[in-house]
């Protein structure tokens, strides 16, 4: 395969990888503060795209504003979901909460179908124009946006985590929730904020890729599984690992299309998920913390 073809696949891999990274970050943030895998994360991705399209089409607002509103609305849904479906389960039983998020995923996607309709919806590209060419490969302008926005999100998140009181509270909860409560941290608020952040990140991913692939009420499940695989690959609980996992998964998929066959790309991602779960469940980029039975 020629150099420019290979580059094309790398670009495509990093594009998808950024999306997976954002979704995977969402999983990690919620997991860190609650120990729960939020299976509704994929739906936040879906809602980001859907809300943005809806705001854009219905109110005719300029695209950046529509995108921002899309993210805010998705974050709002995340908060409402946490308050109504997660918080009431006071004993924090992980199995129960996981099941609740599964139910939430089904509910959110079905409500989306009723509210937004069953058809695919499109968002115009953030900047119009032909693709940028780099050594014979094409980079769509939207891809540059995706990379840019992902970078901004990661930098912002890093700043929140390390330089703000909220971030400190979140890190404390991730280490030990009971201890955090003992030192006076409002763990319930941390959980709510985590959901809001996870939803915002997922929503950002969804809306930034909507111009390329269109969006519909049922796109959440597929991307959710990929983002989830990325989180496992990198290692749950660590934001850097989550992003690394996402990019890596995107590249693995792309290379499998290039060297194997396009039909098996999903199988490869899922195979990677299972392999990591069985062989190194704590992920590639975190230190071993999971105990075996």
């Amino acid at each position: 395969m020629g150099g420019s073809e290979l580059l094309q696949f790398v670009i495509s891999g990093l594009k998808n990888g950024s999306i997976y990274a954002l979704v995977s970050l969402g999983f990690t943030i919620v997991y860190a503060s609650t120990g729960v895998i939020n299976f509704a994360q994929g739906e936040f991705y879906m809602l980001g795209g859907m809300f943005s399209v809806w705001v854009f089409a219905t109110f005719g607002l300029p695209l950046p504003l529509a995108a921002l509103l899309g993210i805010l609305l998705t974050a709002a849904v995340g908060v409402v979901f946490e308050l109504l479906a997660i918080r009431p389960r006071k004993d924090g039983d992980q199995l129960a909460l996981i099941i609740i998020t599964v139910g939430g995923s089904l509910l959110l996607s079905s409500l989306a179908r009723h509210f937004f309709g069953p058809d695919e919806l499109a968002l115009p590209a953030f900047t119009a124009g032909p693709s940028v060419r780099l050594f014979g490969a094409a980079i769509e302008r939207q891809t540059l946006w995706i990379w840019g926005l992902t970078l901004v999100a990661v930098v912002l998140l890093n700043w929140v985590y390390n330089k703000t009181k909220l971030g400190r509270a979140m890190r404390a909860c991730a280490i030990d929730r009971d201890a955090a409560r003992l030192v006076g941290i409002d763990t319930r608020m941390v959980v709510t904020v985590s959901f809001a952040l996870a939803a915002a990140l997922g929503g950002l991913a969804g809306l930034s890729v909507a111009p390329l692939t269109q969006t519909a009420f049922d796109v959440g499940a597929r991307v959710g599984v990929k983002g989830f695989a990325a989180a496992i690959l990198g290692g749950l609980g660590n934001p850097i690992a989550a992003v690394a996992g996402g990019l890596m998964l995107g590249l693995i998929e792309s290379m499998s299309i290039a060297y194997l066959s396009s039909t098996y790309k999903d199988a490869v991602s899922l195979g990677v998920l299972l392999l990591v779960l069985f062989v190194r469940p704590q992920g590639l980029f975190t230190r071993s913390r999971k105990e075996k039975v």
Binding site: E5, Q8, F9, S12, E140, T263
Partner: protein, 414 residues
């Protein structure tokens, strides 16, 4: 106490059983149903949602239009006809459930459907078990190649479309093609039939990629195709993915329009991208709308209903088509496409067969009479079925189109 509760529950079950048993309808036996009661009931399984929703909607429009017309003109044997619609969501399992409901619950005498090849194949076991004739609106040749006494087809089979298209490509000097096809029934069928015929035309297949229904990006497959340097890309996709393929392809090459390569020169610096040629499944307005500029120059074979001028001198067919076009446009505000045409043909084939029979007939009789259809002028062409031909059409019934400035135009001189 607990025992009493359990007892009550058990007794409730028995009562429920008796109640539902007595209240339930007496349905006919499993050997097909005879007509009885007022309206003739026909079942229709269409893709009203999912990736073939754009095909199912005009089909439904056409059927409703015709049913209204037929009933206004007095119905069949003085009795109205009623078509019960079910949505299969472009999904084989749902199609199967829909047919079960139509056959078991609604006791229909015929099934029109489905929209897609895969879904049409999915229901044939039920249709056969129930001895009910099925008239499919999907173009996969497997529907009639894998011959079943109970299944008929109204579109031009891929076995007719492929030689027509390859012939045209050969005339344009094409020597190599790349295939990109949908892994579902229609795409799989089109691909297989193409592979069956290429040797006859001396055309080489240099790449063969597939994608799944619902995939959002085909750049990877198209990148591999681009490296294989085909003269033309033959696309088999009837769903919304077709627009994505066109957009991805143009993007890889930088700009359109789609056109035939000249001289087979791999390092062409002239603007444009190697032609993508499609099939009747692409005769949809949504394709031009979804792909926008990327559809410029796209070509495909399809029936004559898209442009009245395609009928040329065939007065009979032209008359039927223009009447249908006028009525459809008056009712729905836009012209009918080939899918509306397939549906028009399906309902009329069934109804005409019903007219030729006496008032009370079994579904077996209906099947036999559908098979006797001869020289019935429809929108897709003139239909003549036989005991070994449940397709009824030929290459005479299709022409080559090109998208120019977002609209369909006839390709001259074919």
């Amino acid at each position: 106490m607990i025992r009493r509760m359990r007892m009550l529950f058990a007794i409730a079950c028995v009562i429920a059983l008796l109640v539902t048993g007595c209240a339930s309808d007496d349905s006919g036996s499993d050997t097909g149903s005879s007509t009885s009661g007022e309206a003739y009931r026909i079942g229709a399984v269409l893709s009203l949602s999912g990736t073939y929703a754009g095909l199912g909607a005009p089909e439904r429009n056409a059927i409703e239009l015709e049913v209204a017309r037929i009933n206004d003109e007095g119905g069949v044997h003085g009795r109205p006809i009623e078509v019960l619609f079910e949505d299969d969501g472009t999904d084989e399992a749902k199609a199967q459930a829909a047919v079960t409901s139509l056959l078991e619950k609604e006791d229909v005498i015929a099934i029109i459907g489905a929209t897609g090849t895969g879904q049409s194949m999915a229901v044939r076991a039920d249709v056969e078990r129930a001895s009910i004739p099925q008239v499919s609106m999907a173009g996969g040749s497997v529907i009639t190649d894998d011959f079943n006494d109970w299944v008929f087809q109204t579109p031009w089979s891929n076995r007719v479309v492929v030689p027509f298209t390859l012939d045209y490509l050969k005339e344009q000097g094409v020597e190599s093609i790349a295939l990109i096809s949908d892994s579902g029934g229609y795409g799989k069928d089109g691909r297989q039939v193409t592979l069956d015929f290429v040797d006859e035309y001396g055309i080489e297949i240099v790449a063969d990629e597939t994608f799944n229904r619902g995939d959002a990006d085909m750049t990877a497959q198209l990148t591999k195709i681009k490296s294989a340097e085909p003269d033309v890309v033959f696309m088999w996709s009837a769903g919304s993915e077709a627009a994505t393929i066109l957009k991805n392809w143009i993007d890889l090459w930088g700009a359109g329009p789609l056109r035939f390569k000249s001289g087979g020169n791999a390092n062409q610096s002239a603007a444009g991208a190697p032609l993508i040629i499609g099939a009747p499944g692409n005769a949809r307005v949504e394709l031009a709308e979804g792909a926008g500029d990327a559809a410029e120059g796209f070509e495909f074979a399809a029936g004559k209903i898209l442009l009245l001028e395609a009928y040329g001198d065939c007065v009979g067919e032209r008359g039927v088509a223009s009447d249908f076009i006028d009525r459809y446009t008056a009712e729905y505000g836009e012209g009918p496409d080939i899918f509306a045409g397939h549906a028009y043909d399906a309902i009329n084939i069934v109804v005409e067969a019903m007219r030729r029979l006496p008032e009370d007939f079994t579904s077996s009789d209906l099947r036999d009479e559908i098979e006797n259809t001869a020289d019935l002028v429809g929108v897709g062409g003139t239909f003549t079925y036989a005991a070994d031909d449940h397709n009824g059409l030929s290459e005479e019934d299709i022409v080559m189109y090109r998208i120019s400035d977002g609209v369909w135009t006839l390709v001259e001189g074919d």
